[in-house]
Symmetry: C2
Subunit: 326 residues, 2 copies
């Protein structure tokens, strides 16, 4: 039998932890925050909705992890150090087992990044998770989308496409051997925000974004904000699909795998640009952060985003970025 | 015919305004904020869900107003000056007319308080509005729930109970003459956050909270946080129901009206405590802010919250505060 709790008891039992960062803990009308002198506060909000960002049968512990991970990924893309977050949660009912699992996944990741829950809201309604996260970054040193320079290398952290590949399997659009699916599903359900890499890239990268809606669409935001164009090499991006190198990988059409890698979304990796002169520095920084990085192309003056095939020919295909209302 | 828009076009058209407060506008991974030296940032999040916080047929312009108003009310309760907010919005579809009306109501209130939209998220899903608001308050001077002192007067701003009375009529639990309903409905659908009063009470009030879940429950949070008790006078709280003095007011049982006033919720007024020596100061401050205030009782050492009837006898009734999962 599911246990039902009152709102205040639910907050007290699952979402109230000792707080050091804010002069007040959870439970006043506002939380108070003061960034250290010379620091700016980086702020980002993400809302997760069932059917859009997670499937109805997802493990609530993984969902707690992912809800915070996608927000930490935005801080990483700005080069900010996580400080604190607020959680607003609509739940169909006050289900103690669900809250226990969700809050466990949430706080495991929060504690790993020393990021404190400082306030929020709970209400009855269709399941919806809205987190606003706060980080700090030295004034004027945040990584922005608008800093890409002609000649910059384009880099991507970690892997791309596995999350979308797993989602497609869960939606029965194709099949994968169980060990390949398990690995890809980990990427979908428990993404790793690149928090250390983002901070380490301050002063090295000229621009950055986190890949949440698909590489081409998100890189497109950098190009638009920076007033530049780019070419990318599909031989490099194909290596980003981790499932692609799995010995048990099924035969799935290359064009479909490319679509996952280039436009799949839900990756929460960093895409960033850096001067060619910083190439060795980028690689050393990535090693220090234990986060693999791959160079996939170059920023160019010619507007637009071009994808070149293994034969060096411009590829005619178009992979749209993810649009929540398309 | 309803017009459907893509996600980025929807944001650009309805939710992107020039920004002065944040070094970045809407559209990077994070917004950046830096409170002025000596200031703390006050942060609050509220989530509004259909059926809980608004009825399905509510005017979207009023909903835009209310979504921000309930958040500004939290800043008011801390004595903070509004600076900025983020908006996360789940919409069943990208409906241009709805977005136009919603954003109009939202920005009218935002501009009245010089509070800027600095970021957010839009997604497809059951209608859900989550706003996180940021204000600034001189370090160490925020109004808290925990500062009530034995002997303090208990004050309430504006009116209490009309919002709940209107909701009960809309839910067909009782009837009111149209002009009385129209006035009460205004309180339900377009609450006025007491932003100026909250700031003016810094250094005068010892504690404050905003009344969102009902007076007795919210005053109970002050008592709990401050380790004190209170007595309130129902002759004073009965004057807070604005509909009560309307010449066309229907005959509704006094006990039902008391329940609206004492435990109705959705009022977004300030309940605060201040030393008796500040009585004239409180009244002058309220006049300067053009916000009426009413003295309803006293803070006492004896734990618990006592309501005294017009005959001076302790009233036996219990009015529970609003619990989203009760």
């Amino acid at each position: 039998m599911k246990q039902s709790l009152g709102e205040f008891e639910l907050i007290r039992r699952y979402f109230q932890r000792p707080v050091q960062r804010s002069p007040l803990g959870v439970g006043d009308d506002c939380a108070l925050l003061a960034p250290a002198p010379g620091m700016q506060l980086a702020v980002s909000s993400d809302m997760l909705v069932q059917g859009r960002h997670f499937l109805p049968d997802v493990d609530p512990r993984l969902l707690g992890h992912k809800a915070l991970a996608v927000n930490l990924s935005d801080l990483a893309a700005c080069g900010a150090r996580p400080l604190a977050f607020t959680l607003a949660l609509a739940l169909p009912r006050a289900d103690a087992a669900w809250c226990q699992a969700f809050s466990t996944g949430l706080f495991e990741l929060a504690e790993a990044h020393n990021c404190e829950l400082i306030g929020g809201d709970t209400t009855q309604g269709t399941l919806n998770i809205c987190i606003t996260v706060f980080g700090e970054v030295p004034s004027g040193r945040a990584l922005l989308r608008s800093g890409a320079q002609v000649g910059d290398d384009i880099w991507v952290s970690g892997n791309l496409g596995d999350a979308r590949l797993a989602l497609d399997v869960l939606l029965r659009q194709h099949m994968l051997p169980a060990p390949v699916l398990a690995q890809a599903r980990q990427r979908l359900e428990a993404p790793t925000p690149r928090v250390a890499l983002g901070q380490a890239l301050r002063g090295i990268a000229n621009s950055a974004i986190d890949v949440s809606d698909g590489l081409l669409g998100d890189l497109g935001h950098i190009l638009h904000a920076s007033g530049v164009g780019a070419s990318i090499d599909i031989s490099a991006t194909r290596k980003l699909l981790r499932a692609g190198s799995h010995p048990l990988m099924s035969a799935i059409a290359t064009s479909r795998l490319d679509a996952c890698t280039l436009a799949g979304g839900d990756d929460y990796e960093l895409c960033f640009t850096a001067p060619v002169a910083q190439r060795a520095n980028v690689e050393a920084t990535a090693r220090a952060c234990q986060t693999p990085v791959t160079r996939i192309g170059s920023i160019e003056a010619l507007p637009g985003l071009r994808v070149f095939g293994p034969d060096g020919q411009l590829m005619p295909q178009r992979w749209p970025g993810f649009d929540h209302f398309a």
